[in-house]
């Protein structure tokens, strides 16, 4: 029996930690912003990114052992100023996670341009901020 217990403990020690979540609500002029990119960069080689839904919300799963104070959220959408913010909290349950409210402001300045150079595989058009 103790052998089984040790075996179970040893096996569990090898399991990755459960994912944690960052929840963000993205608004502009008090209206939700759909399809904004929200990326959470937590000092790892690859970080998480998703687009907001029609309520402006995104629930980003963060895998691995990362400290919340190392996470920076980047929120961007063409036509708006890109925002980077710290102060991220990570939750173990996405549905019970208090969201971070992000307010985007419209970008003003140069007229829109398309600045994609030729590349070897395909030639998609790029959408640039208004």
């Amino acid at each position: 029996m103790p052998r089984l217990l040790y075996l179970a403990l040893f096996s569990l020690a090898g399991c990755p930690p459960p994912p944690r979540y960052v929840v963000a609500d993205v608004y502009a002029a008090n209206l939700p912003v759909q399809d904004a990119m929200v990326a959470a960069e937590c000092g790892r080689q690859r970080d998480a990114a998703l687009r907001t839904d029609d309520t402006g919300r995104v629930r980003l799963p963060i895998n691995g052992r990362v400290a919340a104070d190392r996470c920076v959220l980047t929120i961007a959408k063409p036509g708006y100023r890109t925002v980077e913010t710290g102060g991220v909290h990570l939750c173990t349950k996405a549905t019970a996670c208090p969201p971070i409210f992000v307010q985007l402001f419209e970008a003003y300045g140069l007229p829109p341009t398309t600045a994609v150079s030729p590349h070897p595989y395909a030639s998609p058009a790029a959408e640039v901020a208004q």
Binding site: T82, S117, A126, A129
Partner: protein
């Protein structure tokens, strides 16, 4: 021994998809620390670990294992102070996933706001 070699050989054949991006400013200087992401819809089942930062030479590569570019996912390149680029999936793969490249390369110029 032979099965192990076979396994290693087969693993090496895993298909990959990806986007290779070079980010520069209008003066042709590389932009470091821009966020380059393949951002899928919030309700997608694609792994969301698809964001990286550009290196000092302005290069960034994001991708993963798979036989096709993630369906419905857009490429974003963003940095505070610059205008965001979004390259939509429908522009990357206008004929849908069955007739789409797996690898893309972009040489982007980010305009200051």
């Amino acid at each position: 021994m032979r099965p192990a070699i076979l396994l290693v050989g087969l693993a090496a054949c895993d298909p990959i998809w990806g986007a290779s991006v070079t980010v520069r400013d209008p003066a042709n200087r590389p932009i470091e620390d821009a966020t380059v992401a393949v951002a899928c819809a919030a309700d997608s089942y694609v792994t969301p670990e698809l964001a990286v930062r550009s290196l000092p030479d302005g290069q960034a590569q994001v991708g993963g294992l798979g036989s096709q570019f993630p369906v419905g996912c857009d490429v974003f390149v963003a940095k505070p102070g610059y205008r965001t680029h979004r390259i939509r999936y429908r522009d990357l793969c206008p004929n849908g996933p069955t007739d789409c490249e797996r690898g893309f390369a972009f040489d982007l110029v980010l305009e200051p706001e």
